[in-house]
């Protein structure tokens, strides 16, 4: 396993050097480039499970593509490392998603809507605790989840998440929330 990891890193290094030679080779660049690696489909050989990938450290982390769609329909495409929650991913990418309790399942402010059923069904069912919080979310839908509970995994590649209409930016287009 260790050898194969080395081999893969070597392959990435080579690709980076030949493709984008002007960049200095660094760990971050390797990570950013990994999703464009032609070997990408083959990475299944190397990463056994999400947890494993997580444990194996940053070097071997894969990323999935996630699109956040704000209520104006504006899309933001981000790469999210396996094992990272959508709340963290949003914050890392300056996406306006609240997270008042910082992912401790004590609020509903990181409410996101999974935009297609197919991806929604690939998620573990929400726990009672998550459902308790979703009870309190504004604009709840059938495919609503808490961003802090949606963890990036390979099957979720291409995930599209809508930010609910009543986000903090509603004033932009004069949206007025319903009376509470």
């Amino acid at each position: 396993m260790f050898l194969s990891k080395l081999a893969r890193a070597g392959a990435l290094l080579l690709i980076k050097e030949s493709n984008i030679g002007r960049y200095s080779i660094s760990r971050t660049r390797l990570l950013q480039g990994s999703s464009r690696c032609p070997f990408q489909p083959g990475t299944h050989f190397f990463s056994t499970s999400d947890d494993r990938a997580h444990e194996e450290g940053i070097d071997q982390k894969d990323k999935i593509s996630v699109t956040f769609v704000d209520k104006d329909g504006e899309e933001k495409h981000v790469k999210v490392p396996i094992g990272m929650s959508m709340l963290e991913a949003a914050h890392e990418n300056d996406i306006e998603l609240e997270g008042a309790c910082e992912g401790s399942l004590a609020c509903s402010t990181c409410h996101v809507i999974v935009m297609d059923m197919e991806h929604y069904n690939k998620l573990e069912d929400p726990t009672d605790e998550e459902n308790d919080m979703l009870d309190l979310a504004f604009g709840l839908t059938e495919t609503s989840r808490l961003g802090c509970q949606v963890i990036a995994k390979p099957e979720l590649d291409g995930l599209r998440l809508a930010l609910p209409a009543a986000t903090r930016n509603f004033a932009v287009d004069g949206f007025v929330p319903k009376p509470h």
Binding site: H91, T109, D132, A137, R168, A171
Partner: protein
């Protein structure tokens, strides 16, 4: 997870935003200033600080045009519709200038240099999060991190220990500031209006909560928990569940929370073993949330007794359940916990969502030594503030305060409300977030409308407040002072294996603030 550090409250680095073109602009001292009286309303503050609707003005200044603020990247939908003087455009880098010229398509908006002063009655910030949230709910208090980041913004100041109506009047604040937002919540209680309500041993749940949370106003309250084994809680909302849980939770579990020391000792000696929750309406109308209910149902060594005949629903109840996921889930939890089953018909009293309790004329006697009324908080007015006595809120439209009814609903310019004072004491922290956004949207709109002229004329702002406080020898606690209190509380707590030991006496708080 890193969402702290140099980032702003919304994950956006404030300084980055300001520095984008800030260095090429002259900022003049624009004293648009807000005041907020309750730290829970930090949403209000942070939204004001970054509200896209508030565009800066181009004003003549010493013979040339200058902007009143920096520039912040925001939303494409926003635009600058004013035409810009040549001098201004010349003073900008070509990139910024062309962005400005593009007007509607511009991704750039001008952002006022606003200042927000928060005035708080107590020496400590965070209002209900510190004194309302139960000690065994530390995760709910994490939001304090976000509040603190807002408070630490350079354009935001905290003035603790300043009492609206005593240290400074509302009319004075309205003179000093362009905009005043009242967000001081609900510091009193609804009453039942029945004989015997004020007998010894009967308290409001709010007082009890304040007592166990170390609120300076209730630190001397000493509820008698020793001469009785039964407490009755009137109400079935989250506060009712909170007080029931605190009364029944093993004190070994409470000992490692930030519960006030006096309350912990009293609870350790408590002989209360049984708590009855009494709802005026049925379980379908219970105001609690599933999380809190689930928590108490799962409490260690606790026997739950829900009578199945109390769970019988009417057709109107069914309708209500159909319309509300949260009520449905609460009801399901209650059903799971229920025992025995002699069903009885139940009457309907109103339309779905509007059912009220009507006495049946039948009475039951319950022996108890402590009654906690948990039937709702109530806001208190201050002098000069229109107040709807029947609803216990300030009359308003989207946060804009309305004059009294006899004045034909005239809007009080520059005066706003947010939070419980605006819509009544319900909802969670996130509810206040949306509530605050609505108020801020109104403010933003007004600053470009009815308040536009006024907000261009200077007001004393912070300096005026400081002068006033100084002339009255009011010793205010700045945020730095709170940080001192915070450090001290954490240090004392660490010795006892608690996250903090709250200082409950006002004098000690002021001493700890070291101001």
């Amino acid at each position: 997870m890193d969402i702290g550090g140099s980032r702003g409250a919304r994950g956006r680095p404030f300084d980055e935003a300001r520095n984008t073109v800030g260095s090429t602009l002259t900022a003049v001292g624009d004293h648009r200033t807000w005041t907020v009286n309750n730290f829970l309303m930090r949403e209000c503050v942070s939204t004001i600080l970054s509200s896209p609707r508030i565009t800066a003005k181009v004003v003549p200044h010493n013979g040339k045009y200058v902007l009143t603020g920096g520039i912040m990247v925001f939303n494409e939908a926003l635009c600058i519709k004013e035409s810009y003087p040549k001098e201004l455009l010349d003073s900008l880098s070509s990139e910024s200038a062309s962005r400005l010229r593009r007007g509607e398509r511009s991704r750039w908006i001008l952002h006022c240099r606003k200042e927000v002063d928060m005035i708080e009655r107590l020496p400590t910030p965070f209002g209900l999060v510190r004194y309302g949230v139960a000690p065994d709910h530390p995760e709910t208090k994490i939001v304090i991190n976000q509040f603190s980041r807002v408070a630490l913004n350079e354009r935001c100041s905290f003035f603790g220990n300043v009492n609206l109506g005593i240290s400074v009047s509302l009319s004075e604040l309205r003179e000093i500031y362009h905009v005043v937002v009242l967000a001081y919540g609900a510091e009193s209680d609804r009453t039942l209006g029945i004989p015997g309500e004020d007998l010894a041993g009967i308290h409001s749940a709010r007082e009890f909560v304040w007592w166990y949370n170390g609120h300076p106003d209730c630190s001397y309250m000493s509820p008698d928990l020793k001469s009785t084994d039964t407490a009755i809680v009137l109400g079935q909302g989250n506060v009712a569940l909170d007080v029931a849980r605190i009364l029944l939770r093993p004190t070994t579990e409470l000992a490692t929370t930030d519960i006030a020391e006096h309350a912990l000792i009293s609870l350790q000696n408590s002989s209360i073993r049984k708590v009855c929750l009494v709802g005026r309406r049925g379980p379908v109308q219970a105001a609690c949330t599933a999380k809190e209910l689930r928590e108490i149902l799962g409490l260690k060594d606790l026997y739950i007794n829900v009578q199945e005949h109390d769970l019988v629903k009417s057709h109107v109840d069914e309708e209500e359940l159909k319309n509300s996921r949260i009520q449905r889930r609460v009801y399901e939890l209650l059903c799971k916990a229920a025992t025995s089953r002699p069903p009885q018909p139940v009457s309907e009293n109103g339309t779905p969502g509007k059912q009220s309790a009507i006495g049946t004329g039948q009475f039951e006697d319950h022996q108890c030594g402590l009654v906690l009324k948990s039937i709702g908080y109530r806001s208190v007015p201050v002098e000069g503030l229109p107040f709807d006595d029947s609803r216990g809120v300030v009359p308003n439209i989207n946060g804009r305060v309305l004059s009294d009814k006899q004045h034909n609903n005239i809007i009080e310019n520059g005066l706003y409300v947010s939070g419980w004072l605006k819509r009544g004491p319900t909802g969670i922290i996130a509810t206040n977030l949306y509530d605050a956004e609505e108020t801020v949207a109104s403010i933003s709109e007004d600053l470009e409308g009815v308040l536009a002229d006024d907000s261009n004329s200077p007001r004393p702002g912070r300096d005026g407040l400081l002068q006033l406080l100084d002339s009255r020898s009011v010793r205010y606690v700045p945020f730095k002072g709170w940080e001192e209190i915070d450090l001290k509380e954490k240090a004392i707590g660490a010795i006892k294996n608690k996250p903090r030991e709250k200082i409950a006496s006002p004098e000690e708080l002021l001493r700890a603030a070291n101001t």
